[in-house]
């Protein structure tokens, strides 16, 4: 028996549980209720209501991604610097939330912001009115950043760690000041990590539905909510599939564009 045959069960499983289901999505996307071919569901995705939802999802996800880069880059940079690289526990602590149950993290942020939560207890103790944070766009954004920040720190940290320190020393020896070294050497060399991070943060945040449901209390329909609705409430699988297909294509295109920005592609896959 040849060893390559061992990949048989795996290949079979992937075909049955990855390829087949995707075929289902594609088939349903081009079907009406009777099963006849139609592109109505696809064109419906481009209607005003859904474009508005898409715009809101993309806007929130972009805001979340930008915040994660701004907060996460310095974090990864400091962790990788000589001052802190020996504190391994610190690194583990910052990454730990990544491995915690996603819903648990969302629930934790929800309990912080809720009407009877600790922030409101402090706010009222200081003599201000209760602050209704749950159900606002800010709460949803907070929940997203809270959930996805570690996913930004990890790849940036990895790319910084892998960097050849001698390149930085060379730049210093050639008389570049610290700001110049950072802008001209460190930052460009860590871009592959930033790009992995952007993918890891943008993708789940643009399709989330639980965060917007729980922290936005349903006031902010995002693309994920609309898709979930088609399956769990409206029972319109064809339209749900069209939306899913639409989102997947959108994400694949953005990943493709991001990868083109990335010059050292071979290194990128190693960051994860």
């Amino acid at each position: 028996m040849k060893r390559s045959f061992f990949s048989g069960p795996y290949a079979l499983w992937m075909i049955m549980f990855t390829i087949f289901p995707i075929v289902f999505v594609a088939l349903y996307a081009f079907q009406d209720n009777t099963g006849a071919f139609t592109i109505d569901n696809i064109t419906r995705c481009f209607e005003g209501t859904y474009m508005k939802v898409l715009w809101r999802s993309v806007k929130l996800a972009l805001e979340c991604t930008v915040l994660c880069v701004l907060l996460g880059y310095p974090c990864a940079y400091f962790l990788a610097s000589k001052d802190f690289s020996k504190y391994k526990t610190l690194f583990v602590l910052i990454l730990l939330p990544m491995w915690m149950n996603f819903l648990l993290r969302t629930y934790a942020s929800m309990s912080l912001l809720e009407r009877n939560g600790i922030i409101n207890a402090i706010v009222t103790a200081l003599g201000f009115d209760r602050w209704n944070m749950i159900g606002t766009e800010g709460a949803v954004l907070y929940g997203m950043v809270y959930n996805y920040l570690p996913f930004m720190v990890l790849p940036i940290h990895t790319s910084l760690k892998k960097m050849d320190q001698r390149v930085i020393e060379a730049a210093q020896d050639l008389g570049a000041n610290p700001a110049r070294v950072f802008l001209k050497v460190t930052l460009p060399l860590s871009m592959s990590g930033v790009i992995s991070g952007i993918t890891m943060v943008f993708m789940p945040s643009v399709t989330t539905f639980a965060i917007s449901k729980l922290l936005g209390s349903g006031n902010f329909m995002l693309m994920g909510d609309v898709i979930e609705n088609q399956y769990m409430v409206a029972n319109d699988w064809s339209f749900g599939s069209s939306l899913s297909l639409f989102m997947t294509v959108l994400i694949l295109i953005s990943i493709g564009l991001l990868n083109r920005l990335d010059t050292n592609k071979s290194e990128r896959s190693d960051n994860w």
């Binding site: 290949a11 999505v25 149950n101 969302t106 729980l214």
Partner: protein
């Protein structure tokens, strides 16, 4: 001056830690609160933990979560390890196809993976419950096992396997006696990874089960009705479990290599 900058960096990291951990710390603290309040301390008690263990729905969800995680991990470890050994021995073209196929569930949004599996399960008239949840979890776990085992195979000296064959070992025995021991660190890392992924999952479980609830879907339906302290107790236990698991993983390898 240098000390000053180090202090500045340290405070920034401390702020990030505060941002990440204050919600969790508050949850843990108030899970021991005697009263129902989520903001006022009314004395220490294990009351919510007792209620937690008396709550049948939560205990059932815990059983489902653990059963799904353990079965999915075992099956995905077997499938993924065999897959990796096979792919490693494959011709380039077929191997690339399979690897690209493995990236697919890792790059597709969870919600799409979830609904696509759900549609297929409904179509083939498989009742959505624990069984379908296990199938779904195996599907997203296996690529992680595969990608933990493959690098170990690449590091291996190909001659050891050939030597075993030359010395009269049957291929099957050569695999169990030579290859598996050599790649076992990758297998264990992959298994632990699969276990945490399975315990972490919400979105895919949500779509692939109807009857059986796991802890994630249970917390979700509870959270839609608002925050309750008995969920704090549950969250605390789950947090401690993941922490323990991570310490074990981290002892084995650096977190960077498994992400």
């Amino acid at each position: 001056m240098k000390k000053f900058f180090k202090g500045l960096k340290g405070s920034y990291l401390a702020l990030i830690l505060l941002f990440l951990y204050s919600p969790i710390a508050i949850m843990i603290a108030f899970s021991f609160n005697a009263g129902k309040s989520r903001s006022k301390w009314e004395g220490f008690s294990f009351k919510w933990y007792q209620e937690l263990f008396k709550n049948e729905a939560i205990m059932e969800a815990l059983r489902v979560t653990l059963t799904v995680a353990v079965i999915a991990t075992v099956v995905s470890v077997i499938l993924g390890t065999l897959g990796a050994i096979g792919i490693h021995a494959c011709k380039k073209g077929w191997a690339t196809t399979l690897l690209n196929l493995s990236y697919l569930p890792m790059t597709m949004p969870d919600i799409v993976t979830g609904i696509s599996l759900m549609m297929m399960f409904v179509f083939i008239k498989l009742d959505r419950g624990m069984f379908t949840m296990i199938l779904a979890h195996i599907t997203f776990d296996t690529p992680y096992v595969l990608f933990s085992v493959l690098p170990k195979l690449k590091q291996m000296d190909p001659n050891t396997y050939e030597a075993a064959l030359d010395l009269g070992c049957k291929p099957m025995k050569a695999i169990t006696k030579v290859i598996i021991p050599e790649i076992s660190p990758g297998i264990i890392t992959g298994g632990l990874l699969a276990l945490t992924m399975s315990l972490d999952d919400f979105v895919i479980s949500y779509f692939t089960t109807d009857k059986a609830q796991n802890l994630s879907t249970l917390i979700y339906s509870a959270a839609k009705r608002g925050v309750k302290p008995d969920m704090y107790a549950l969250s605390t236990i789950m947090f401690i479990t993941v922490l323990a698991l991570l310490i074990v993983i981290n002892k084995r390898t650096t977190l960077e290599n498994i992400g």
